[in-house]
Amino acid sequence: MNLPHDFPHLLGMAKIHIPTPLRQYAGKQTAVEVAGETVADAMSDLIAKHPDLKRHLYTDGGKLRSFVNIYLNDEDVRYLQKDATPIASGDNISIVPSIAGGL
């Protein structure tokens, strides 16, 4: 993805990829541009733009649900600095929930 470099006006934004099962709560979009300095900022911005996503991603206590993982580019943020992981312009954040289909 070279978008931000191709379109300088998008610099300062990261992109969060929305997986198929959650797109219905994100205005049917495949990706959402978000602003912020950390993964937590980016996720808050996403939730602010699409409040319906919140209960699908977080428990009532505000904890990320255990069948959802968040990746910064190709790294699981659990193995970086979790929510506090800094993000840079043009980063790709992925929400990766478990899916079980096979038949």
């Binding site: 198929t20 255990s66 190709d74 478990s98 899916i99 079980a100 289909g101 096979g102």
Partner: protein
């Protein structure tokens, strides 16, 4: 990593097999040595459905010597859009018999072992015992966790694929050095939050793509060739035709494969996944239910009933019973279209979404709302056979 090399008996090829596998034999990455490894290998396919069809077909054609199949299901018409091992003439037959017949027709040199059962905590380790590699082509969370834990406990790689609509995931779990499924997802979602393919649909070609990736990984593991998907999760987006790869790490705290595992034997996976009894039954109690026969009788009698259809517009196009269409997700913002003084019967495809709609309407102050048990499928089964099922 080569799975079969050390313990495998030497499997020699006869003249017919040499001709059959010619295109493998002339390739240095396979060759006679590799083809003999394939013949000596024993691979277990869990499920002969969407993923299992292409997986088993290609493994049989490639010359994997022993193929185990586990399935308890019967072929139905809705399977044919993607489960390419089964044909129209097989509808009503056991998937196991239908699949074994095709595999034997493709390659009579393959030994097929059939397990006519639902994989369970009681039988999984016993079934896995005689196989080198397990390929998971199931369709539900309890079986996914069961396959993973049984692979970790028996030290066998779990070649994983899963699909939803037009999106897939593939990886190789539970090798000695690599992560397992629980390292990625310690716990499953609560029932009902993530729709199954039966509820959400699946692009028929997608299990073909993902199942062939699983077959490729199985063959690579047997040959000890290339870079297997160990420690990598491949994300497949068929609509965008985009492939992305994420790093997976072995979690030292993993309950199954970590340094201090707490899962030392197979558990009750339905309980672990929060499933009690039938999945399709509405989970909430206190939802007033109405049976399709009762609805039909009351409509015929001219009772003032308002039928609310909470499915999606594309489902309404397939079939409908004349209900007022408000998709479940739109209900909160369109609730003003409903008259709370009238008696309302909500329905969906099978009764799950409409139960949620009824619960929502009750919370919004509606007193006379019912859920149509079994949805429009029950209506088609028991009231009007002209209504198409999907």
């Amino acid at each position: 990593m080569a799975i079969a090399t050390e313990t495998a008996p030497t499997a020699t090829l006869n003249k017919d097999e040499i001709l059959r596998y010619s295109r493998h034999l002339i390739m240095p990455e396979v060759g006679m040595d590799g083809q003999q490894k394939l013949k000596a290998a024993k691979v277990l396919c869990i499920g002969t459905g969407g993923l299992g069809s292409p997986l088993a077909l290609y493994l049989a054609a490639a010359g994997v010597g022993t193929l185990g199949l586990v399935d308890f299901d019967v072929v139905d018409y809705t399977n044919l859009q993607r489960q390419i091992i089964h044909t129209t003439a097989d509808v009503g037959r056991k998937k196991l018999d239908s699949a074994a017949e095709k595999l034997e027709a493709i390659n009579p040199f393959v030994e097929i072992k059939k397990f006519d059962t639902r994989l369970s905590s009681e039988n999984a380790l016993e079934i896995f015992r005689d196989f080198d590699i397990i390929a998971d082509g199931t369709d539900n969370f309890p079986t996914r966790y069961l396959v993973n834990d049984a692979c970790v406990l028996s030290g066998k790689p779990n070649v994983y694929g899963s699909i939803f609509r037009f999106e897939g995931q593939a990886s190789v779990f539970a090798t000695e050095e690599g992560p397992c499924y629980r390292c990625l997802y310690p716990e499953p979602p609560p029932p009902g939050l993530v729709p199954s393919c039966a509820e959400g649909g699946v692009l028929g070609i997608l299990p073909g793509l993902v199942g062939v990736m699983q077959a490729t990984e199985v063959v690579k593991l047997i040959l000890g060739a290339g870079d297997p998907l160990i420690g990598r999760l491949l994300l497949i987006d068929a609509l965008g035709m985009k492939f992305r790869e994420l790093k997976l790490r072995k979690n030292p705290d993993c309950p199954a494969c970590g340094t201090r595992p707490t899962i030392t034997k197979l558990i009750d996976y339905n309980e672990f996944c929060g499933i009690r009894g039938e999945e399709e039954k509405p989970v909430s109690s206190g939802i007033p239910e109405i049976q399709v026969e009762e609805l039909k009788r009351r409509l015929d009698a001219g009772d003032d009933l308002f039928v609310l259809d909470v499915r999606e517009p594309h489902e309404y196009q397939i079939c409908n019973i004349g209900g007022h269409l408000i998709p479940l997700n739109d209900l909160p913002k369109r609730v003003s279209e409903l008259d709370s003084s009238r008696e309302i019967v909500a329905h969906c495809k099978m009764g799950g979404r409409s139960a949620k709609a009824v619960a929502f309407l009750q919370q919004s102050g509606f007193k006379k709302v019912h859920n149509l048990t079994g949805g429009i499928i029950a209506w088609a089964d028991r009231v009007d056979p002209k209504v198409p099922k999907y």
